[in-house]
Symmetry: C3
Subunit: 434 residues, 3 copies
């Protein structure tokens, strides 16, 4: 019997927000000390195992890249003024920039500058993981002020053999079938994408500690793409146990929730998330699977075909702040984080409680009156809604129909119908089949 | 070969209405003489068998209740004026009230009064079958005029061992598979709910007398819930023959027709009723199954799972007159009853004629011209609609496709396509497979 | 490996139009020299085989009719003026009129005149294939001017044993499964119905000459109805090889494209045509199968059940010019013919290229960067659309999913995704399964 319950904590949104605040200043990348430090901070909350895969390890069609670490970076004008300073924003550096220190003309400098003309105040986020290069990102507004001058560019970074680091936490359940919650830890100082996903999953994993569950649960805190590929390569033989998954990202902005379906499109995890969204009575959007996006791409590649969806608020790329310095602490809020957390929490709750019941009095309705199960006076066919859930449960519990199916068909919330099922079990009117 | 035809009687609505008028004054309940008298009047039309099940008989989770009969009931004020009089409206009495005769204060009386504040002129209909009690129902308007006084309450009723009485009529067809038409006879003086159903099924059953039919048909005139439960308990071993059913109720009001689907939702009976509604070219509504409602609840409980739908006009509970004194002879009309009857009549007609044909000339079209089957001049691909039905029948009659499927796919009315099928059979172009 | 390519010829519409112009003056019917002459002209373009079936041959429920040839026909008034002259329009003659030469009153003449009151300037097209008769068709406007007079009617025709003539062209492919393209050659001087279909299929067949194809293709140029019946009767034993078909008619008017689905409704040919219409980004209409229409009626009769659809512009009978003298060279245009041709051409192209691929690197995504398959800078989840097609192909190519399915699911045009598939094959990332 599962001991997992919905978390009853109205401050969880604030806690998730605070943890994001703590992680925000760190300069993360797909490898390096920033990522390692992020994982250490997560470990203060939940007992993740921190794993390292050496650079150059072959992982399917890829090789684990060299480890990149950056100490400092700036551009100075001829007056010696730092016009770009990595210490002010770690987005200023093109990720995986190699070390450099030289004086160059404006024209040459411009070949290494990245800006965003449509949003002139924002610094874009850019990477060059797999091609050696160096560069700086800056606001278009500042870029326009650059004068013909001799500039001193300075990047103090290392790109050498090391490792790719990721965090993993596994909760063993009653059955081997496991559910994946995955998020990526490789983005530097941006909040919605993706400290929101990192922090939410940290607190979601916490709810499983010391709980007995039916399913096993696996949490991955990995660098995007190469991290998922590396994990799958390393764990190839056990991947068949992974039945469903959800990728957590962009869960902190003020937009409505969006669910990107799994590749298969109509699996248990899809039905669960859709029901949770319906039950919320809030507006939401459901989008069909598409093969770009985050790590669901790797998990559902044809060699694995694991149904992995993604529950986000505003979809990456659909908000202008995406991959810019504007995706900061002001762009997210604790209310949205609380709401997103509640949905993720509900996913586990439904998974754990989606049992099949069998009506123990299957021939005609039982006499509810003698069991004090509803008001004895009255001959109204429009019964109060809790009576409705009684009748739906009794009518549908044929030993083959899951609670989720009954909740969906009846349009009664999963929680309400689950609570009523407990009452009917206590009256010996229902029994659990599986 | 079925000899069942559609009834061609434009006065059937008036006849159904007149019979309702005759049944209206009787005080019915789930047991007792009113119900028995109602069945005797039905028996003057159709040869129903009237059955009694003794009180206290165990029927699944229930016991047949004691038999209730009421002789008189009133409330007098201190001046001796009858302010509530059962003889004026049998809705004044809370059904299953026990005998009482005493003087009480207004305050005490109020504990036993039922009113309907939203419709202050109407008397509500209330019951207390399974909890001994007594009470009166009255209009809220009159309730407000009650003064502080000493009231004489008088109820002369009996609640003792007797029996539950129901009527049943079975027509044996060529095959054992049987179709249920069920209605409930337990409501006192209310017309739409449910004398309309009782009277309609009486006249529907009449159309089957002395007819040869493919299916067997069973008509039940039973007290709601406990009657259905009792019948199912008594006939448990033969219930597997019951393939589909329809519960008749609320078929006399002026609203559009509504079909409440079976639990299974897409069975033959569902398709038949939907096609009949489409063919009518009138507006209608189709609602999904819900497990509250009338006796379809018992027939489709998981121990029986019989697909039973319900064809009504305005759904119970959706009209304000429901379960009040306003559900009277003015609330129903013969035109609606005629229309409802026609649809019920059509259900049997389609069931009896939904055969599968096989094209006897399956390779290319037969030469219709040489058979004088259509106008020989003309090269118009837009053929007249009766030609359309010829071509649909010939094209689709592959020995697997039923006439109902062809009618539905082609959007030709079942009657029209059936008539054309008869012609093609007479030309040896089609033959009946089953 | 198929060598079939899309025809790249912007003048094909003009060529189709010119060929219609050449065929227009000929008086065709279901038999006779006009039809034979039409087939000879087609043979100047493509190597059709011209077949004759003798009159009176039994073909299923029918007999091949006598051969009808007409030399001349007119009506003269008493002044000797030809008021109706077959030489001016071959629509003036009721098809299959027998010879006559006599003087008759206006009243008697009127029994043999066919007009179209709604469109008073147009001559209707009428036939009397299977009942001996004679008659003239004329504009209603002229009909109204007819005065009481003695008229000389003259028809010089022959109706005697001869043959029914049709053309056939078969392209043998790698597999026996064959695709039918059928059109009818029996209509006299009318353009949209159906010289447009005749000319389009002539040029479509041309694209297959000297090509290696996977499927076999069969082109039929037959008299409508009796021609299809005759062909099916003669080829009954080989019809099982015919897997799908399309009837070409009314492909030259300025209306949008309309696809009439096959009887089965959801077969490969239906999916292909629908995808081609979607890819065009033009408006179009899809209509369900109906069993009147053209020769799809015979091919999908229950004895054969071949899925045959019809891709037309404005559906026959839906344009007022249908079966009148107004269906002339002005009613069609080369732009529409070009567009219709392109779609028919695409049907073969999709059939030939709808292969199933298998991802050769199925576990996680391959490293596209090292293969120079997309821009190496950038971390944007919203990839450019050609990257999208890469990811769709890699994600979906599990060895079971056809290219058409991937194109449909991704809403990427078949051409675009096919081009990208070729690139991925050249990089050994995909391989063809079937």
């Amino acid at each position: 019997m599962s001991t997992y319950n919905l978390l009853n904590n109205n401050n969880i949104g604030i806690e998730i927000y605070s943890f994001i605040e703590k992680l925000f200043p760190i300069c993360r990348s797909i490898t390096g000390n920033g990522t390692r430090k992020t994982l250490e901070l997560i470990k203060q909350h939940i007992p993740i195992e921190i794993n390292d895969i050496p650079s150059n390890t072959k992982v399917f069609d890829w090789n684990v890249p060299k480890e990149w670490n950056i100490i400092d970076a700036y551009v100075k004008n001829s007056k010696g003024e730092k016009i770009i300073d990595f210490k002010i924003s770690n987005l200023h550096i093109l990720q995986y920039s190699i070390s450099i220190h030289k004086k160059i003309s404006l024209d040459e400098l411009k070949n290494h500058l990245y800006t965003l003309e449509e949003y002139p105040n924002w610094i874009p986020y850019k990477t060059s993981y797999y091609q050696e290069n160096w560069g700086f990102c800056m606001s278009y507004k500042q870029f326009q002020t650059l004068e013909d001058d001799e500039y001193e560019v300075f990047i103090d970074s290392t790109l050498e053999n090391g490792s790719l680091t990721y965090g993993e936490l596994f909760f063993k359940g009653e059955i081997e079938d496991e559910i994946l919650f995955s998020t990526y830890i490789c983005h530097p100082s941006m909040c919605n994408d993706n400290l929101s996903g990192v922090s939410l999953l940290t607190f979601l994993a916490k709810t499983l500690i010391d709980k007995k569950t039916k399913y096993s649960y696996r949490f991955l805190f990995i660098p995007e793409t190469i991290g998922a590929i590396s994990w799958l390569a390393k764990n190839e033989n056990n991947v068949h146990k992974m039945k469903y998954g959800v990728v957590a990202t962009c869960v902190g902005d003020s937009g409505q929730l969006t669910y990107k379906k799994t590749k298969q499109g109509n699996t248990l995890i899809d039905k669960i998330v859709e029901k949770i969204l319906v039950d919320s009575r809030d507006s939401y959007e459901i989008v069909d699977f598409f093969p770009t996006g985050s790590d669901e791409r790797q998990f559902s590649s044809p060699g694995f075909n694991i149904p992995v969806g993604s529950l986000v608020r505003t979809l990456y790329g659909k908000f202008p702040e995406y991959h810019t310095s504007a995706d900061n602490m002001d762009f997210i809020n604790s209310k949205s984080l609380q709401d997103s957390f509640t949905k993720y929490n509900s996913i586990i709750h439904v998974l754990e409680n989606n049992v099949i019941y069998k009506n123990q009095n299957p021939k005609c309705e039982p006499n509810l009156g003698k069991r004090k199960l509803y008001d004895l006076i009255g001959a109204n066919k429009e019964l109060p809604s809790n009576s409705n859930s009684i009748f739906w449960l009794l009518n549908q519990s044929d030993g083959n129909t899951s609670l989720l199916e009954i909740a969906t068909k009846s349009n009664i919330s999963f929680i309400d119908i689950k609570n009523m099922a407990d009452i009917l079990v206590s009256h010996d009117l229902l029994t659990i089949v599986n």
